[in-house]
């Protein structure tokens, strides 16, 4: 017994010592490390949500050009990351924050966590995306939250696609839709806002009561809804319709392990059924690396990063000079007249979410 103990203790100490967490330089894990320069490299910390993704080569180019190391701090989903940043605003956790979307923008601006920066590249961004005229939060990308459907299900059962939000109340679509909880999911909140834009307050509650009658399934987050409940994706779940992004069909084609002739899913893009989500980035107040942060914002708004985004995060670039990849042009859809965030969003967001919870979940 003592021998076993000794062996275990030695083994775990050995493992611990050779596995001691060395901060992996993210940019250098697979590529050659950047050539040693005489002056020291500065570190830029970018706080994002968990869905942030970028090609290593693209970020590395920024690092080489500016003699810097970029650390991406993933901090939960969109709402959670923003709330952490707001809580820590006296001693900010990062230099740049990316990932606040238009449904949370007012919260970020009211909390006053960003410093204004009038990037010269905003000239290439259409006006519809520039929601903050003081340039504290700069638009980086947009995507449409729409209902995705599994093509095979609808063709096999000879079912017409729902042409509007109203159609989802019909009995032929019973038990077919899975949505996310707006309290914990940003696409869920986006879809709720679309219904509010369509039916008004309190009309939207009647709509949701009807959906509940029609067997709508609610889950906590987008991953669960899309990869577990949705029948058109890898989970082969029970529901053939899910609230997701209009670019998700393109993702299905990109990640398919064998080449596909057509996207297996599609989006319903009828007027009023989608919500346009715009994502912003900003320089956090109190950062010691202001100049580097400005350069990073410029880099994010510039063509190279903007063209890299679609295949990594499946969002559309705001820079009108950025070209879309082929698979996007073919399979990703754009919503017709999507809903936008209402004016009284910040004051009413919590009330709406709680009323929705009472109507649908209780």
């Amino acid at each position: 017994m003592k021998k076993l103990l000794f062996v275990f203790a030695t083994f775990s100490i050995f493992l611990a010592s050779c596995g001691a967490p060395a901060p992996q330089d993210p940019a250098a894990t697979e590529a050659a490390p950047p050539p040693a320069t005489p002056s020291e490299a500065r570190t830029l910390t970018v706080m994002t949500h968990d869905s942030f993704n970028a090609s290593e080569g693209v970020i590395q180019e920024f690092e080489l050009a500016n003699n810097a190391t970029v650390t991406i701090l993933e901090s939960g989903d969109a709402g959670a990351a923003l709330n952490k940043a707001i809580l820590a605003k006296d001693a900010p956790l990062a230099d740049v924050f990316y990932g606040v979307d238009n449904s949370f923008l007012s919260r970020a601006l009211d909390a006053d966590i960003f410093d204004s920066y009038a990037s010269p590249l905003t000239a290439n961004i259409p006006d519809e995306f520039q929601l903050d005229l003081k340039n504290r939060a700069l638009p980086v990308d947009y995507g449409d939250v729409c209902i995705n459907y599994a093509k095979s299900f609808f063709s096999k059962n000879d079912l017409p696609l729902p042409a509007s939000l109203d159609d989802l109340k019909k009995p032929e679509y019973k038990d077919m839709l899975v949505v996310e909880n707006p309290a914990t999911s940003s696409p869920g909140l986006a879809f709720l806002l679309a219904t509010i834009a369509q039916y008004g307050d309190p009309g939207y509650l009647d709509y949701w009561a009807a959906l509940r009658q029609n067997g709508v399934v609610v889950v906590d987050g987008w991953e669960t809804a899309y990869y577990t409940n949705f029948s058109g994706s890898s989970g082969h779940g029970p529901q053939p319709m899910v609230v997701s992004y209009a670019s998700s069909p393109a993702a299905e084609v990109v990640f398919a392990t064998s080449p596909l002739e057509d996207a297996p899913t599609g989006s319903i893009t009828a007027p009023g059924t989608c919500f346009r989500q715009i994502e912003f980035a900003g320089i956090l107040k109190g950062t010691p690396n202001r100049d580097l942060a400005e350069k990073f914002i410029d880099f994010m708004l510039d063509v190279q990063f903007q063209e890299d985004m679609p295949l990594n995060m499946f969002v559309y670039p705001v820079n009108s000079q950025a070209a879309l990849p082929e698979v996007f042009v073919q399979y990703a859809q754009v919503a017709q007249s999507p809903a936008a965030a209402p004016n009284n969003l910040d004051a009413m967001r919590d009330t709406w979410i709680e009323a929705w919870t009472q109507t649908v979940l209780r």
Binding site: G19, T43, A54, S55, D90, A91, T228, T257, P288
Partner: protein, 569 residues
Amino acid sequence: MTISRLLIWLAPLAFLGLFFFYPFARILALGLDFTSLRAGFFAETLRVLGFTFFQAALSTLLTLLIGLPLAYVFARYDFPGKAFFRILTAVPFMLPTVVVAAGFNALLGPRGWVNILLTDASAPPVAFVGTLWAILAAHVFYNTTIVIRLVGNAWATMDTRLTDAARSLGASPLQTLWRVTLPLLRPSILASSLLVFLFDFTSYGVILLLGGPKFVTLEVQIYIQALHMLNLPAASLLSVIQLLCTLVFSTLYSRYVTRAIAPLKPRAAWANLRSPKQWLEKVYVATMLTVLMAFFALPLLALPVRSVARLEAERTQPVVNAPGLTSAYYTELFVNRRGSLFHVPPAQAAANSLTYAVLTVLFSLLMGFPAATALARPGKFEKWLDPFLMLPLGASAVTLGLGYIITFNRPLPLLGDICSLLGENCTRNTLLTSPLLIPIAHTTIALPFVIRNLQTALSTIPQRYREAAAVLGASRWQAWRAVDWPIISRATVSAGAFAFTVSLGEFGAASLLARPEYPTLPTAIFRFLSQPGALNYGQAMAMATLLMLFAGLGIFLIEKLRLPGTGEF
């Protein structure tokens, strides 16, 4: 209070004060403005509180229902493979909720084994995940081991002469059970029920991952209000309510634990064991073991099986393509395949977890020993302090994590100066970015276990033995070495193994505080489970299997070094 007592308490109290009470107080202070809460909030809170109590009470009842018969089997019978079955019931306790949820999902989820079999047989699928039953089942799965250990221990060391006397006086077995055995076991039953209730009351991952949005307990509500709605007054009020409830439970618990060690002369555990001889006994033991295997082994087995089975290679076709065994998921653990930035090889996460676990053991033993020594011979101060030491068990991991974020995001005083001397940019060198934060958070959570474990062991060292050694001529040091040290050393390793496994499986605090460059096993599993594709799922299963193996090893050590007759908690 003597000076030596004060000194003994200095380290543990300073640690808990700095790393538990202070961050908690800071986050609560941010939300003191209760007037901003809407009227509807209080009604909703009452509803949530009611549901929390309801599901905790129901879960505890079911746990007792399954745990008591199993406790009897382990206490009274000896059979081949007994050690293995004991470990089997204990492994779930150490697993993070992510893994347990994945296991249940793999077994009973919409695409789990059971539903695949049912759809093949053209039967309607079973809806399990997302119902109250999933929550109850997971709670029973987690906590049965507590009942088995606490009650089983008491049952095993019970003096059988009382029951023999009752039988000889003409009582039927049922009467004996009801009037002699159960009253004797009442302290341990109550102690285990309270502990199980506390865990179910503060349960978070299970409700969130297996219950879904329909079920909201206090902890889940805190999570939503603090992290998503940023409604700090609501989150603070709820955290305070939760703390008060925990305080009540832990006061009740510490009062009963002192009575859990029966006042009668305990028998050695092995003296009450025998192999099942009668036909009825054999049937009983066999049935119980089958229930045990079905309930505990099946969800756990789903994980290693999915880690070596290639079921669905194609994402877009519903047909299974080339099913077979593969070790690809394990070899993949050492590769950082993603071309993007912040993914370290998953094997690194395993190494990180082990390092954190070792550090947690060191810290918690350092803090726990003085506290346990003082508590073994409690004075008035200790009696008053006792319930507060259990608070970290019931405190909200979310609130604590947020408290850490706002408290420790300042440069450490000495480190900052050294850093600027070296001419580097040091504003990011705070405790929050340091890899030490996770072991510290884990120590805060493991400390109540470690203290309890050490305390009960230390209090069993009979003073008479020390006196006998002194009478026989041993010096104080020799007496300590001969009497105290054997017991202490075993208890130390046992408590240390406890802290090791708690740290390995901790997920709540780690998910809030872990930096992407230092992931832990549970957070890495969670990340891989959120990504699509068979490769990511397989890697998550492989890591979960590794976690199970490490936890099993730790529990095996606890078993081997457990002192017979002492309590676990």
